[in-house]
Amino acid sequence: MSTIVKRVTPLLAGLIFLYGIYIILHGHLTPGGGFAGGAIIAGAFILLILAFGSSALNLKKEVAGSSNTESIALLMVVVLALMALLFGTKVFFFNYLPKGEPGELLSAGVIPLYNIFIGIEVAGAILTIFLALVIFKEESSK
């Protein structure tokens, strides 16, 4: 890519990443949530890879990291849901943390935690698919 793209992308990618985190953390207050925020975070990484080319990054290490991250995040969602069997009415996916004042950032019990882990899982999954396609193209063109 050209010099303009390479100069502007690092400035924009950080802002897009922060916006994704905002969407995930405020998922129970404003439109958005785990799926939307995770896709935006994956978009920030994809923008960096598109601008700087695949040679600038160690892609093999990245794809291992992103697939491990998504696996652990999905496991954490299941663990959070299983922990509900220890409290209260003992139902899978029960909301066992205190609900708090509706409308504040720390409210709605476990829903923000689910949002965070689903967001990490979605970002990891989309990034893994993209990196797998890029690595396949790199290796088959050799």
Binding site: I23, H28, L29, A39, S67, L74, V78, A108, A125
Partner: protein
């Protein structure tokens, strides 16, 4: 508002038809972009910003991947030859289309107009979600509390898709 949505839907249909008939595959991909981004505006007009955010990001990422595929393979469409098999397939397609359209007309007679009537179950969700879940955003409240199994299933689908891509595109194991 219905007029605006109708105009946008008309543009989307034109874009889809152009994508089918374009000689240049790159312009066909761009025409598919009209369909996706038109859907974003429709979601915003129908008051579904949650869906609009997801749609605009996913549409952009898919467009990037499709453009990469087109630039990497070929930009010209394959020529269609009309042999006996193609004609049989076209006849079968028309029969299936006619059947589906007949049942569509049967089904649409019993539907209410858009947004005129809410189901009994969703009324309970709409009225009691804030007290029951503590989440001000109704969509998140439904997704992660009332319908948490759905969300788990969706996350597992994405996980399986990533797993499938990693399995299909491996190079070292094939040798």
């Amino acid at each position: 508002m219905e007029l605006t949505i109708s105009i946008i839907l008309g543009f989307m249909i034109i874009g889809a038809i152009y994508a089918l008939h374009a000689k240049d595959l790159l312009s066909a991909v761009m025409a598919m972009g009209i369909v996706g981004y038109g859907l974003v505006i429709c979601f915003l007009l129908l008051k579904a910003p949650d869906l609009a955010i997801v749609q605009i990001v996913v549409e952009t990422i898919t467009l990037v991947i499709m453009v990469a595929v087109v630039l990497d393979s070929t930009r010209e469409e394959l020529a269609i030859t009309l042999d006996r098999r193609a004609i049989l397939q076209m006849i079968a397609g028309f029969i299936v289309f006619a059947g589906l359209f007949y049942f569509f007309i049967l089904a649409i007679e019993h539907l209410d107009p858009l947004g005129a009537h809410t189901l009994r179950m969703s009324e309970t969700y709409v009225n009691g979600a804030v007290e029951l879940t503590g989440s001000v955003n109704l969509v998140t409240g439904v997704l992660f509390d009332f319908r948490a199994y759905d969300t788990l299933g969706e996350a597992v689908i994405l996980y399986t898709a990533a797993l499938g891509v990693l399995t299909l595109l491996r190079i070292k194991g094939k040798k």
